[in-house]
């Protein structure tokens, strides 16, 4: 992975304040194209994308989505084709379907960031209402909305002001050790050996 890619990952933020400036069609297409490269269970590609960039439809979408704080200039609704999923032997609520939604969503967020667009995922919406508003067949279940737009300066503060957790805070190397406690206790030795140690 190049340093550029790592920098994109580090600097991406959820954007909840967006201007009304439209998102050009070619940028939307680039984001959609990027999503087709996201890892996908069995390469089955059970996700479908609905793009909304019409102001009146976006307004209705926002009314039906309590988690949508931003006024996006465009939105991509990631849907799971649950009928096809069942044909493959997945349960409609299989966790694998949600993982694929997540990988597609994250890929879109990073692609948007690379294009200097703001973006934010929304899952707090009524699936029934959004499905009806967008004329989705019952086979397509809307799972996540990716809001897109140009960042505004009036960005609200993050959801929480907790300290950002380091990778050491959330990682156990090799095997879970309940006594390792908090930050850094599971850090891998700097020499790369597989032995365990606790940080001071």
């Amino acid at each position: 992975m190049s340093d550029d890619a790592l920098e994109l990952i580090r600097t991406r933020r959820v954007v909840r304040a967006m201007t009304s400036e439209p998102v050009p069609r070619d940028q939307l297409e680039q984001i959609l194209e990027a999503a087709t490269h996201a890892p996908n269970a069995g390469n089955r590609r059970l996700q479908r994308f609905i793009v909304v960039d019409r102001a009146s439809t976006l307004r209705v979408l926002r009314m039906l989505s309590p988690g949508m704080l931003q006024h996006p200039a465009a939105a991509i609704i990631i849907c799971s084709d649950v009928v096809k999923a069942v044909e493959y032997g997945f349960a409609p609520s299989s966790g694998g379907l949600y993982v694929d939604v997540g990988t597609a969503g994250q890929t879109m967020l990073l692609a948007a960031h690379a294009l200097r667009l703001g973006s934010g995922p929304v899952t707090s919406f009524s699936k029934a209402a959004v499905g009806a508003a967008l004329n989705l067949p019952r086979s397509l279940r809307p799972e996540m909305i990716i809001c897109l737009g140009h960042p505004d300066r009036n960005e609200p503060p993050p959801m929480t002001r907790r300290r950002r957790r380091s990778w050491q805070d959330v990682t156990y190397w090799g095997r879970f050790e309940p006594d390792q406690g908090q930050a850094g206790h599971a850090a891998r030795p700097a020499d790369g050996s597989e032995s365990f140690r606790s940080s001071p």
């Binding site: 009314m63 707090s124 009524s126 209402a129 993050p158 959801m159 002001r161």
Partner: protein
């Protein structure tokens, strides 16, 4: 006092938000409940402010609207409760003035 009626579009926007929030709350963290209610209050306030008295507009703009849309209890439990209590107190003091509560019943 001016009779305030939301436009149909404004009313629908709030109605849709409240109904869909009732549904999403079944799936999301319980601490999002207050957050959703406060967002609804802020949206109502946005509709009300241009048609409100100066005092009510001040309450909306100085007390209701500045509440962060993304604040949740878990980030700062005591601070969150204290901030909400402060808003509630300010709201109550405003209501006392608007409804002439200190005058008492005749």
């Amino acid at each position: 006092m001016q009779v305030m009626v939301l436009t149909e579009e404004e009313g629908l926007e709030l109605l849709a938000y409240l109904v869909t929030a009732a549904r999403t709350q079944l799936d999301e963290a319980a601490e999002y409940g207050p957050l959703r209610l406060l967002t609804a209050a802020q949206r109502l306030g946005t509709f009300m402010a241009p048609r409100s008295s100066q005092a009510t507009r001040a309450l909306i703009e100085d007390s209701i609207q500045p509440m962060p849309e993304t604040a949740t209890r878990s980030a700062d439990p005591d601070g969150y409760v204290a901030a909400l209590d402060a808003v509630c107190r300010g709201l109550a003091e405003h209501l006392v003035g608007v409804f002439d509560v200190d005058r008492g019943d005749p």
